[in-house]
Structures are given as C-alpha cells and as structure tokens.
C-alpha cells in the first residue's frame, strides 16, 4: 500500500493526542511544556503533509513561522517557570494553589 496523505495525518493525530495526554496527566510544569511542544510538532507534520500533497508551498511557510513563534514562546515560558521557581521553590502545578478558594 502506497504511503499517502492519510498515513501522515494518522501519525500527526496520534502524536497530538500523546501530547494532550501528557499535558493532562503529568503534573510537572516542564514535562507539561514538553508535551505542548509535542502538540505543536504534530500540527507542523500535518501542515507539511498537506503542503506536499496539495502542491502548495504555503503550508511550509506556515510551519516556518510556527517554529519561529514556538522558539520565542519556549524562551518566555521557561523564563516564567524559572521566575516562579525562585518565588515558590516548586515546579509542580499541584503546589500552585494561590487562586484556589
């Protein structure tokens, strides 16, 4: 069976779901952040495969921008996590209950 668009889309969907599962189950901020990266990458894979199978380069340009924005997002997010750790000495979402009633 020839590998086509749907094969890539299945891989992308499964990877997205893995990332979502990681965000929901893991309680460590850093691992949650890595799972978010996994989800972004799954979207990138879907966009590149659409671009390839529709003979249209715009999808790849989109992925290029997503990678750039993801790099900026990671740097700001990690700086926030470091600032949080300095204040609270924890990187666990369960310990951050200030807004809980």
């Amino acid at each position: 069976m020839q590998v086509g668009l749907e094969h890539y889309l299945v891989v992308s969907a499964l990877l997205f779901c893995l990332g979502l599962l990681g965000v929901i189950t893991r309680r460590n901020l850093l691992v949650m952040y890595m799972s978010l990266e996994l989800m972004l990458n799954a979207a990138n894979l879907a966009l590149v495969s659409f671009s390839r199978f529709n003979n249209n380069l715009n999808g790849q340009i989109m992925v290029f921008f997503i990678i750039t924005v993801a790099a900026a997002e990671v740097s700001v997010g990690l700086a926030l996590i470091v600032a949080l750790y300095r204040k609270r000495q924890t990187a666990h979402v369960e310990d951050l209950t200030t807004m809980k009633l």
């Binding site: 094969h7 891989v11 779901c17 990681g22 799972s35 990458n41 671009s51 340009i61 900026a72 700086a79």
Partner: protein, 169 residues
C-alpha cells in the same frame, strides 16, 4: 514496498515510540529523560519531513528544535533542582480523565479522516520543498509576516531578560 514507504513506517514508529516515552517513561520519571526522548522525537520527525521533500524545514527542525529549544529546556531542568519529581506518582483520577478525553479526541480524528477521504482527490505529489522556492516566497508574498516575526523574537528576548532579572520590581 518501495524504500520511502519502509522509511516512512520506520520514522513514524520511532516518532510515536519516543513520543510515548516523553510523557510516560516506565523506567525513569526524570525530566531529563523526557527531554532526551523529545530530542529523538524531533529528529525522527525531521526524517518524516525529508520524506515529504521539505528539506529546508527538516534542517530548521533539527537546528532550532533539537538544537536551540532543547538546549534551553535542559538548561532550565539543570537549573531547577527537580529531585522530588521521581517520588511523585501520577494520580489515578487524572490518568483516567486524560485517557477518556484523549480517546474521545482520537475517535473524532479518525472519524473525520474516514469521512473526508483525503485519498480520493489526491494527485501524485510533485512539490519539491527546496530552499530557493521557499526563500522566494518568504521574501515576496510573506515579507511582512517575516518582519513581524523578527520583531516578535526581539520582544521575546527583551521579555526574557526582564523576567529573569533578580529583583523583579
């Protein structure tokens, strides 16, 4: 089966396997292990990009993600002392909730995929994601977003410097 098809299955299996090991490694709960498997996931995904003839994006993926972003992650993991992570257990409630919601989303995805039948109107792909074509598009049609993104990177840099100053006042 042709060689690209075999390579697709190899890279896809590698990507998914390493993805599983990022979120739930049975041998180690250490975030460093997760980060290392995330690097492997990203590199095998670059292999998938090469199979999709997106050569420039494969290179960018390895350089930016596996290089810059993951080094940043590892720096922060080393900076925060996360020894206690290994003692914590995954809560049963969150695991069940996560599996149920993710299973629902998997079902939705597969139903959409079956309903859309992307194979039906697909022609043989002829697109080559070569760097020259991509660069030409980037500097003509997408010039404004390109400049905006460069400003965004500058803003992110300033933000990070401000956030990581010792006395945030």
């Amino acid at each position: 089966m042709a060689l690209p098809d075999i390579l697709f299955y190899v890279f896809a299996a590698l990507t998914l396997l390493c993805g599983v090991l990022v979120i739930a490694n049975p041998f180690s709960r250490n975030p460093v292990t997760s980060a290392m498997f995330l690097v492997l996931t990203i590199i095998s995904m670059a292999g998938l990009f090469v199979l999709l003839h997106a050569f420039f994006l494969a290179a960018v993926q390895v350089l930016v993600y596996a290089g810059a972003v993951m080094v940043l992650f590892l720096f922060v993991i080393m900076l925060l002392d996360l020894k206690e992570e290994e003692r914590r257990k995954i809560k049963k409630f969150s695991l069940i909730g996560g599996l149920v919601s993710v299973g629902a989303i998997v079902i939705i995805f597969l139903k959409v995929l079956v309903a859309a039948k992307p194979e039906a109107n697909a022609s043989a792909p002829t697109l080559e994601g070569e760097t020259a074509a991509l660069g030409k598009l980037l500097f003509t049609q997408y010039l404004l977003p390109f400049e905006v993104v460069s400003v965004l990177l500058l803003v992110a840099m300033l933000g990070v410097i401000l956030l990581s100053k010792k006395d945030l006042k």
